[in-house]
Amino acid sequence: MSRMNRRQMSGLLTAAAAGALTLKAPAVWSQANITKIRAGVVPVLDAGAFIAAQAQGYFAAERLEVEVTPTPGGGPAMAALVANQFQFAMSTITTIIAGAAEGVDLRIVAPTSIANAPPNDYTSILVRKDGSVRSGADTVGKIGASHLLQNLLWICLRMWVDQTGGDSAKNAIIEVRFPQQADALLQGRVDYVASIEPFMSAQVQANPDKLEIISGLCGSMMPGTVVAAFAATQSYIDRNREIVQAFTRAHRNGAEWCEGNKGNPAHVELIAKFTQLPPERLRALLAWPSYPRGVDTANLDRIAEGMKRYGMLTSVPKAESYLYETGRVH
């Protein structure tokens, strides 16, 4: 989802945090009791609850007028958030945790998506059918690929290699963007990839005799792991607690709507409109993310431990420090 790696993000967020102190916050104004806010949203499946909250009028019911700014990745969205360009922004969970670990005052206010345990895992490991990789033990001398290095899927890919008989520290894992992963596999440039919906179903269905899913990924390594979330800055939260609560209430209602309508025509139409994905592609998905009402600290601590294990963090920040009360399981 995020298209900026962790190192770039850490530096950027730290610089942004310092710079933001000198910047004037943009106006968040109330007019006839309507509060206008601006949110940076990555147009992917994970944003389902937000999209539903907007379309079903849950934000409006909370007297919020949300200006939606689609962003190509979570990295720029977080930078814009810290610079007070957004009041809320969506990103992969590892970017938020990495920022929090660097001392940036990011707080998770609403988790957006969860990877379920197989068979409903919307992340997976994709290989060539005629290839030799079936487990981590087979990856010696092979090349793996992840959309980004040092993100959640990369961590889970390394976990999978290590837990199934391989040694990810000795393996080459390179960056290949989701849309190009099937081509890279088919041309033999890589041997196994960390995939995610909607790419994994489309790539397997387009090449049923050549590609196959051999394992779930994030939902297998860390069942129920949160994948992405909306964040706000602590300084914004301190000044606007009611707005944050209203935003997350509406988002939670959107999550409930998505869970109740997952895969239904109305749900597919909403997601297709926002992500520009063809509806037929959404109807053919093998799995959807779950849209949670909240997340517990153990879930986040588990991810942070994984980030530390694979060198993304030098110390593990306590989830209590960056998970705001509205983002918790109630």
Binding site: M4, Q8, L12, A15, A16, G19, A20, L23, G40, P43, V44, T69, P70, T71, P72, G75, P76, A79, A80, V82, A83, Q85, F178, P179, Q180, A182, D183, L186, P198, F199, A202, Q203, A206, T275, Q276, L277, P278, R281
Partner: protein, 279 residues
């Protein structure tokens, strides 16, 4: 009159508005044939693309037949989405180009007229010039946000350097005799600038702008791909991640045609303004 030019540090042959480049056929035969053979190569490459996709030589979701991409381009343009994205991109590109070029010309002329200023500013310019401007996009988000202000600034920074360096090069290589004669005849400084320095420097400025146009176009699209929610760059990324390869190539076709048209248009303008400088 100086004839060489330098842009972005590398010696460049100035984009002189020759008859070949502009397609003014002169007696017609040879340039006309060259132009036809040039277009023929494009057609052959597109044909190879079409066949490779239709015959399954290249099998990929990311490699639709070229006719499919062209059909989608026509539909998308008619639908307005792609056109809107393109207009936005051109607006940002032209705004940045005009801003960066204007500053480049002014700073170039100023530095050419003052040795002290040149010695003071040149080290900074040389330090900044090698920086890949797209790498500055994420930090610039902090100060300028994700919207047009940031992108126009990035494009202006891109356009500045080739125009500035060419202007400086042109202005400093004006025949000293011309300056001396003008000074001896008592021509005031502003008039010297207008009547001697500027005409002598114009071919360099135009060469710099021509380089800047290409760079500005690329950087506008890259900036839109990195941040924001508008323009051809964002459209490209969105279509790629939505698995709509034909739409993505449609946008690329449009970019190629626009780039070609911008260059051709600028050559026409250059030819008109610098008619006295033609070979």
């Amino acid at each position: 009159m100086p004839q060489g030019s330098v842009a972005s540090g590398a010696p460049l042959r100035r984009a002189r508005p020759s008859r070949e480049a502009t397609g003014s056929a002169g007696n017609g035969t040879l340039p006309g044939r060259r132009r036809v053979s040039g277009y023929l190569l494009v057609v052959l490459l597109l044909l190879a693309w079409e066949l490779s996709a239709r015959l399954g030589i290249v099998r990929s979701e990311n490699w639709p037949p070229v006719t499919q991409a062209l059909a989608v381009a026509a539909t998308s343009l008619a639908g307005g989405d792609l056109l809107l994205a393109l207009v936005g991109t051109l607006y940002r590109m032209l705004a940045g180009l005009v801003l960066g070029s204007a500053i480049g010309v002014l700073v170039g002329l100023a530095l050419a007229s003052s040795r002290w200023l040149r010695l003071t500013v040149e080290p900074l310019v040389e330090l900044l010039r090698p920086l890949p401007v797209p790498a500055l996009v994420p930090p610039l988000i902090l100060f300028l946000g994700l919207d047009d202000g940031m992108k126009i600034t990035v494009v202006a920074m891109t356009a500045f350097f080739p125009v500035f360096i060419n202007t400086l090069e042109g202005a400093t290589s004006v025949e000293p005799t011309y300056r001396l004669v003008a000074r001896t005849l008592g021509v005031p400084p502003l008039r010297r600038m207008r009547a001697v320095l500027l005409p002598a420097t114009l071919p360099f400025i135009f060469a710099g702008i021509r380089v800047a146009i290409g760079l500005a176009f690329i950087v506008t699209v890259v900036a839109e791909m990195i941040a924001g929610d508008a323009g051809i760059g964002y459209y490209l990324v969105s279509m790629q991640y939505a698995g709509r390869a034909a739409e993505m190539y449609a946008a690329l076709f449009l970019l190629a045609i626009c780039g070609f048209a911008l260059n051709a248009g600028f050559l026409r303008i250059e030819q008109r303004i610098l008619h006295w400088n033609r070979r």
